[in-house]
Amino acid sequence: MAVHDDSNGQKKKSSDALDEIPTFNVENMQNNTRIINYSRTFMSIIGGVIAGILGYTALTGFIFYFVIMAITTVGLAAKTGFAVHSFFDSWNQIVFDGILGGLLSFVLFWTFAYDMVHIF
């Protein structure tokens, strides 16, 4: 009975005019999330290579990874022009998304680069 969706090309989340649930353009939100994941994965790989070249071992390397992720977060926030709310749902997405997934890529390339430079 109560209709919810606009059936236009950009599927919006439902909004009830009496309730003020904010609507978002879901397609663009997915696009933005995808961009964050690509950027973080690439920076994890680059961070791994740098950590291997510098010869970091154990804890220092993991701390270096979080430093790289912090730099990437600042870079992503700058890419939005610091107006985060017009591109994302909340700050959590831009700060925390993709960090644990990137950790595995980081360790892979870190051990790879370390082997290439210091052992082989």
Binding site: V3, S7, N25, N28, I46
Partner: protein, 105 residues
């Protein structure tokens, strides 16, 4: 976007050159039998430069952020879909009391 790719490739080449320099530095240390405490300062500068190039490429190559707010300029609905049977409109008529007797349907 081609520029972003080029910057990324340049950053990667800088990192590869830094890796090669570090390998040569280590073989030099093996000859003089010293410990490896850290790469030489030129390599560290090279790594920082490579990091910045790759950071710039990582931020520009995947594409621009698109606004998710419905009231921003590029999100305006300017066309209606062509299958007229399934269009639904969210209008203020729903606050009117229903005049149709549902049992007859």
């Amino acid at each position: 976007m081609g520029l972003g790719y080029a910057v990324g490739v340049v950053g990667f080449l800088i990192l590869a050159h830094a890796a090669y320099s570090t390998i040569q530095y280590r073989s030099l240390l093996k000859i003089t039998e010293e410990e490896f405490t850290g790469p030489p300062i030129t390599v560290v500068v090279e790594l920082i430069a490579g990091l910045f190039f790759c950071l710039w490429a990582a931020l520009t190559v995947p594409g621009k952020f698109l606004s998710i707010l419905p009231q921003s300029d590029e999100n305006r609905v300017v066309a209606l879909p062509s299958n007229l049977d399934f269009m639904i409109f969210n209008h203020r008529g729903k606050v009117f009391p229903m005049g149709i007797d549902m049992k007859q349907m």
